[in-house]
Symmetry: C2
Subunit: 404 residues, 2 copies
């Protein structure tokens, strides 16, 4: 841990970590559920201290961490493998290509990183309950980390959430409360709960340490690519917090003097869940009208971190694009068959974006070094690819039955 303060990404005011908890007290006033967050806080560290202490031979990521290690849960999170995939790089006209496989976190997604840090913060504050609204990866991640840390997890889910999606969080011992209505109703109730009854709210970007947690994926990418900044990192985008976290990693590294440029962040959205893409392209924010994508982890009407995601893309000289569900599911199968990495549809969305980009006018130049961030495990949702595979009819158990 290195000393830090919070700075509002809208007004620039700074606060000590014990003065504020979720949003900037000024800018957050204009926030109401149903619009992208305003007054999101950013952790600003003593970067001279980080730069002086960091040693590539023994990288200590805790230097970049805003919570003391004594409070960290005992569940190992992160440090996921990054595979170098040379055949795929050659196919796509790239110099180097890597796949960061964050589906190999304990609960199966990158979101474990955010929950880990929020759970550490809860322990620091002496709070024994963490509250969230989610039906998916964030809730399972919260439940897993709370189980490990001996904390209680309270999760509000919309009543229509399929039971199979809830298996993980229930097994991890979370209290799951189905709420009549939509996800937005569950979300509002979770905010009301922590305001009036207590507990720490883990909703994404609302608690600033979710971005800091996700940042660790970016730090590892830098190290695993040989302590070199990739030319481009492809990130699937739903609420915009993961791309914000990856960006923050490289911002922190640059502020600490450890790198001298940022990787271009390429945000890839599903066609029907494209609020951030349109915001980046037009400068005008509007909700996604009707997100129907099969990539449920990035199916979002109103992305909580829309403003932060747009900044991340613009500051890094990146871009956004959209892909169809057909492109996503094809990319999922192609990535598995070429690399041995089975990622959920949302994770494959990043690869679908790379394929699409390389086929068009904005293709990365040959020799470029790129990273695909695979955010979740394919085992999270075997139904998605199931409809697209076919199994041949059974043969008699004799070698002659098998064509050569």
């Amino acid at each position: 841990m290195t000393p830090f303060s919070y700075r509002c990404t809208d007004c620039g005011r700074t606060y000590s970590r014990d003065e504020v908890r979720y949003l900037c007290p000024e800018c957050g006033k204009s926030y109401r559920p149903g619009i992208p967050l305003t007054g999101v806080l950013e952790a600003v560290f003593d970067y001279d201290a980080i730069g002086a202490a960091f040693d590539q031979a023994r990288p200590d990521w805790n230097l970049f961490c805003p919570v003391e290690t004594a409070f960290h849960p005992p569940l190992p999170v992160g440090n996921t493998p990054m595979a170098r995939v040379d055949r795929l790089a050659a196919e796509l006209g790239l110099g180097e290509l890597w796949v960061k496989n964050d589906g190999l976190n304990p609960s199966g997604s990158l979101k474990d990183r955010a929950s880990f840090l929020v759970a550490a913060e809860a322990r620091r504050l002496g709070i024994d309950l963490i509250v969230a609204a989610s039906t998916g990866n964030a809730a399972s991640a919260l439940a897993a980390v709370c189980a490990s840390a001996g904390l209680k997890a309270l999760i509000f889910v919309p009543e229509k959430a399929p039971k199979a999606k809830l298996v993980q969080m229930v097994l991890y011992g979370a209290t799951v409360v189905p709420v009549k209505g939509t996800y937005d109703d569950a979300f509002r109730l979770s905010l009301e709960y922590t305001e009036k009854r207590g507990g720490l709210n883990r909703n994404t970007a609302y608690h600033p340490l979710t971005i800091e947690g996700k940042k660790t994926a970016g730090l590892e990418i830098w190290a695993q690519a040989g302590f070199r900044v990739p030319d481009a990192i492809f990130v699937s985008v739903g609420d915009g917090v993961i791309i914000g976290g990856v960006h923050k990693a490289f911002v922190d590294l640059r502020r600490a003097g450890l790198i001298d440029r940022l990787p271009r962040l390429i945000g890839v959205q599903a066609e029907s869940s494209d609020a951030i893409h349109r915001y980046v392209e037009t400068g005008v924010y509007a909700d996604a009208a009707n997100p129907t994508t099969r990539a449920d982890s990035i199916s979002v009407t109103c992305p909580s971190n829309a403003h932060g995601a747009r900044r991340a893309v613009q500051e890094s000289g990146g871009l956004t694009l959209t892909v169809t569900d057909d492109e996503i599911l094809s990319a999922q199968a192609a990535l598995a068959a070429r690399t041995g990495i089975f990622t959920e549809p949302a994770g494959a969305t990043a690869y679908a974006g790379l394929v699409k980009l390389q086929a068009g006018a904005k293709a990365l130049p040959s020799g470029a070094r790129a990273v695909i961030l695979a955010t979740g495990n394919g085992l999270k949702d075997v139904e998605a690819p199931l409809s697209r595979i076919s199994i041949p009819p059974a043969i008699e158990p004799r070698l002659e039955s098998l064509p050569r």
Copy 2:
């Protein structure tokens, strides 16, 4: 890689690695599909060389590896996290308890380790096809590693295998051939295929490097426990190859002079799939009459490595025991809720065995240091726990609807 030769575990004859491929040419003669393997080969290394070169500060596991790194597939396998779970240790009257989470391998199970090494061997031999019979983790592991290595995978499955079990291997690009009849018919056909048409056969223990691959889990356990030998390691047992591989790790470490004792291996079987348990207890081998356990990864009629598993238990001063399916599914939920680790039923079987052992006369003494090997990811089979969880009815989206 360190030079090694193969030694038959039955007759003790030794061979160079290019003289033999699967079983001891003499003892293997008495093998026929449907009985435990005879003539299983063991890799015997130049242990002086390993002992001289190994450095705890920079552990190089390739010293223990029988295939040159130049042939290794580009998919990172192994190096899975091991969580220290102090609260659970205290509950069970142990000094230290660790959970080695091998479900965080790329295809979701420990079997990636075996497939990785067999794929490396295929590349060394210039063979571009690997063949296996399996419906489960071994086949998915083979398909994943072959996808990464640019090799073909041919997998024979019984015709009744559920399609959901085949999703992973099909996505990874394997050729999946359903075979009319039972698993035994598929197994026989896979042997016939490699005998008459070629390819490398990856069936477990039949190819000796499957045990060497699984060995790496044991090496990592030693390192992650602080380069100390645990008092006991709990391993779920189906065909007996994983327990054989873990045993081989510590045998190799002892032969290299790096440790001076073996951990006790505690083999845990499902009650209906208990052939190895009975073999250890009585000295007489007989098939499991009717394996019906929900822990499908350890549901085995005739364990291929029955002889090797019995030796591993006996040489290590360990023991075997059985648990019921109810105990397994309870253990799966309890482990998830206490540690944040969600392992498939077969993985939780090891923990169920620990719970049962600690409640009886053969309990490990207080202060003992134990490891649970969680062999597969819980996401492999969400149906298993689904029937045991209940979700409360939905509430109105108002705080007052929620009891305090």
